[in-house]
């Protein structure tokens, strides 16, 4: 069981190093885009931190794409954004019946 977990973690790490091609430098200002809008912030920053920074009202409900690729919720804290990255925050839209406080407060 323990062996299998290690393999999975290793595969995850390899996948992220492929996704995050830029090396993570220590604290620099970077330009990224979130939902098409430019944001300038200090990197490295994790997706989890970015969600907080953008005041996402229901963080457990937001779905994230990084450079067109879906990011698993379990990986939000471990995935870091770097200069030039494009993120899309996607929200559930169900219809007149269901309700979510999903607005990103500007």
């Amino acid at each position: 069981m323990k062996f299998k977990t290690d393999i999975r973690t290793e595969t995850k790490r390899k996948r992220f190093s492929i996704q995050n091609k830029n090396k993570i430098n220590s604290n620099k200002m970077s330009k990224i885009s979130v939902n098409g809008k430019a944001q300038e912030l200090e990197t490295p920053i994790s997706i989890a931190e970015l969600i907080k920074l953008n005041n996402v009202a229901q963080p457990s409900m937001v779905s994230i794409q990084l450079n067109g690729q879906f990011v698993n919720r379990d990986d939000f804290a471990d995935t870091h954004v770097s200069d030039g990255d494009e993120l899309d925050f996607l929200y559930f839209m169900g219809g007149g019946q269901s309700s979510y406080q999903l607005t990103v407060k500007d």
Binding site: N35, S63, Q69, R73, M93, G94, G95, Q97, S99
Partner: protein, 278 residues
């Protein structure tokens, strides 16, 4: 297919289009489309597909028309209150266009009946208002290799994507439905009526494009708009290799009915969690 003089008149504005013509109109008349939900989205979808002459329109909805529906469900009129929605819809579809064969299903779409119901159709349109059914439609269409249009609206926002076998499905973007207890109780959010028309009509256009083969479908893209700012965004996506239903190692191999959130005004009053909209 031989068009009558009357049909040529009726569909003349389609026939005039170089990209559509008589051949395209024939394809529309031979098309079979299932609309899930005869509500906010289902209404404009049904109206436009009827007008276009889609040969067979299936429409599934277990509800009756409610007064609060009339604010946006433009296929239902005041005298239709308390009438089954599918009956009300069928009447209007045939008043617009007697050419259209309407098949009504006065029931809910469930894991048990979905595969059987969708199998006779060329295209499925999601006009539903809850996530369990949205995920069910997605999963069933992926499993049955059935093209479909996903759509959802809320307050002033709308989003839609089109799936054809091989393109990104709804789960590629949203891996799993939100748990029912994560939904603050009920129809508190509301929706601007016209938003339903904005989004539903986009879905209808996608259906006609699919049937005629014209243009580029909203595949591998999520079209999202905010009507307050009238900002339309297209988010590029691709099939996720980790997608639970269409990925390399699918975990969703069977269909389930996810738990529904309890959603009615009474339970909302009791919990008092939300302040009413002004």
């Amino acid at each position: 297919m031989d068009f009558t003089e009357e049909q040529i008149q009726r569909y003349s504005r389609h026939i005039l289009l170089q990209d559509v013509g008589v051949e395209g109109q024939e394809k529309i008349n031979n098309g079979k489309v299932l609309i899930v939900g005869a509500g906010g989205l289902g209404a404009p979808i049904a109206l436009y597909l009827a007008a276009a002459g889609v040969g067979t329109i299936g429409i599934i909805d277990g509800d009756v028309v409610d007064l609060s529906n009339l604010q946006r469900q433009v296929i239902h009129f005041t005298p239709d209150v308390n009438k089954p929605k599918v009956i009300s819809a069928k009447e209007k579809i045939n008043l617009i266009n007697p050419d259209v064969k309407v098949i009504t299903y006065q029931k809910l779409l469930t894991a048990e009946n979905v595969l059987e119901i969708i199998q006779d159709y060329d295209f499925v349109v999601d006009g539903t208002d809850n996530f369990p059914v949205k995920f069910l439609i997605n999963d069933a269409c992926v499993i049955a290799k059935k093209p479909f249009s996903h759509g959802g609206i809320l307050r002033f926002d709308g989003q839609t994507l089109t799936y054809v076998p091989g393109s990104a499905c709804y789960r590629c973007l949203f891996h799993s439905p939100p748990p029912p207890n994560a939904v603050p109780t009920c129809s508190q959010a509301g929706v601007l009526g016209a938003i339903a028309g904005m989004l539903g009509t986009i879905q209808a256009a996608e259906v006609l494009k699919y049937l005629t083969g014209v243009g580029d479908l909203l595949t591998n893209r999520l079209l999202t708009f905010n009507a307050k700012t009238m900002e339309f965004r297209t988010i590029k996506s691709k099939p996720d290799y980790n997608c639970p239903v269409c990925g390399d190692r699918p975990t969703v191999t069977g269909l389930v009915d996810y738990e529904q959130a309890v959603c009615d005004i009474e339970s909302h009053k009791k919990t008092n969690k939300m302040t009413p909209n002004p």
